[in-house]
């Protein structure tokens, strides 16, 4: 049946294809709108509103993104820093922990698993977390508060399951007999084998760090530590946030800049520069997400 379908287009296939195509199109539309708005002149937005067919095209918004790029560059730096450091740090911490949990002869692993599982059942909630982080650890406005709490039970389970299913215990035992310590066994035998699982978890971690706004929103106050998502929140309320930074550092005239600012298209242009890397990298990392999802559904 499946083979006959491919030979000629049946009516049912045509309808199905149309439905899927329309839904796929609907999924992309909002992004297309943003791109068009960012290339519309502010005057045409004022008169005609947001539209897929603006009266007048303009590059004004994008030249603005270039001209007060200082804060944008800083925020890019902050986001890249927390994404890279957070992902590497997370993979090391969770990878070594998953390895320890996978070792059959390690008696404490049961207790350690329980320590890892309880946070899935019970959490202190947002308020207690906030007060502990700010008052006990003094992490208010610290970049480390964006990196450190990124550890997740789910990812550890994925990694542990992968090790258990793909690396026989006997292999690790024989490495030990050959005189390799645990760390060396992990680094030289286990780590190379778990590259696919690490890649999946790594991509999920990286996108999580790149897109995380919640922690930055709660903790970060100074402009120099503002990651991209928080920058978006700030300019969503008030695009002049960018101007203040630009005029302070370059000596440009604030009122003059403000008068000629393309507010609506400027916002969209900045939003697109923030989304950009994710949109460009998306076709490449998509498969790791699908892998992670399906590996994650298998429990060890």
């Amino acid at each position: 049946m499946r083979t006959t379908r491919k030979k000629h287009i049946t009516f049912a296939q045509l309808v199905l294809g149309l439905l899927l195509g329309v839904y796929a199109f609907v999924c992309l539309m909002p992004l297309v709108l943003c791109v068009i708005v960012s290339f519309s002149s502010d005057a045409s937005i004022q008169s005609k509103g947001f539209s897929f067919f603006p009266e007048e095209w303009s590059l004004q918004a994008w030249t603005y993104v270039g001209s007060f790029g200082n804060q944008l560059l800083t925020s890019y730096g902050v986001t890249i820093f927390i994404t890279v450091v957070g992902t590497i740090f997370g993979l090391i911490v969770m990878g070594t922990f998953a390895y320890a949990l996978s070792r059959q002869q390690f008696q404490l692993r049961k207790a350690f698993s329980i320590v890892m599982l309880i946070p899935m059942l019970f959490s202190g909630g947002m308020l207690a977390g906030y007060l502990v982080n700010t008052q006990l650890y003094h992490l208010k406005d610290s970049i480390w508060v964006l990196i450190l709490p990124g550890i997740s039970t789910m990812y550890i389970i994925i990694l542990r399951t992968y090790i258990q299913m793909n690396i026989p215990d006997s292999l690790m035992e024989s490495a030990k007999i050959d005189g390799a310590g645990e760390i060396r066994t992990f680094a030289q035998i286990v780590l190379p084998t778990m590259v696919p699982a690490m890649a999946s978890v790594g991509f999920m971690l990286a996108v999580g760090y790149w897109n995380d706004w919640n922690r930055a929103f709660l903790y970060i106050t100074s402009a120099s530590k503002t990651p991209l998502q928080l920058l978006l929140i700030r300019i969503e309320k008030n695009i002049e946030f960018l101007l203040q930074e630009a005029t302070m550092s370059s000596g440009l005239d604030y009122t003059e800049l403000k008068a000629s600012l393309p507010e609506e298209s400027g916002r969209m242009a900045i939003m697109l520069t923030v989304l950009g890397p994710i949109l460009i990298a998306y076709p490449f990392f998509q498969k790791y997400f699908i892998q992670g999802l399906t590996v994650g559904s298998v429990k060890g």
């Binding site: 491919k6 070594t96 320890a100 946070p119 899935m120 909630g125 207690a128």
Partner: protein, 300 residues
Amino acid sequence: MNLLRNSWKNRWLIVMSLPALILFIMFSYIPMFGLVLAFKKFDYSKGIFGSPWCGLNNFRLLFISGQTFWRLTRNTVGYYLLFTITGTIGNVFLAIGIYEFAYKKLGKFFQSCMILPTFITYIAVTFIVYACLRTDGGLVNRLLGKNINWYLNADAWPVILLIVRTWKSVGYGSVLYLSVLAGIDTQLYEAAALDGANARQKMWHITLPMLLPMVAIMTLLGLGSIMYSDTGLFYQVTKNVGALYRTTQVLDSYVLNAIMSSTDFSLTSAITFYQSVVGCIMVVGTNAIVRKVSPENALF
């Protein structure tokens, strides 16, 4: 004694576990103790653990507040049910649609378009929703030819949030079901075809029954997060507009709002306590059911 000797023998595994354990203790366990705040009169200068006890006074406030408490609970649980039901139906339909579509390459491309919104943060979504809904020049108002101020129109928001949430998550949500479908033995379909089953009968008697276990498990596991919501959707996309609280404010966005505006934490601490305890009961309860139905999918 045995355990001690085993632990000493595996001391390097303990060393490798330490970073993860420390992070769990710092960011998961200590905040759990922070929940005692619900029984205290919070004094900022004294911190969580130094503040004086006040018995059940905070809970008295919670029940006096009646309105707030019931509204938050109703919205949280209501949206959870709405999203779970529509999400599951959407995921299953989409998965079947993509699976049945004979042109696999085109289907893959459509699927990529549908998954893309998952990677766009709710912060960026806020910009898009605003472009669609703003009073003057918003896309929806222009299409309707009206001048509705959507950000004051609370009754419309359950539908708006449902559309946004469906757009953002159904594509990715269907991936899991698609992987189940891909695992169905095609011989089943061939045997059914030999027995004279038509397309609808095959769908009804093979495809849907094969998906059912996964639907049941995902629904049950999801119940554990019934008290938690995505603040990106409920706090950011609604722009935290007070006029919309009636239909959009959930427990999590109430707490986030309380932290950001540093209001009195008495009521908030009682709310987070209620949220954590009910959440924990739900996780443990649903896990007990999952363990009965399908042990390999239970969390613990």
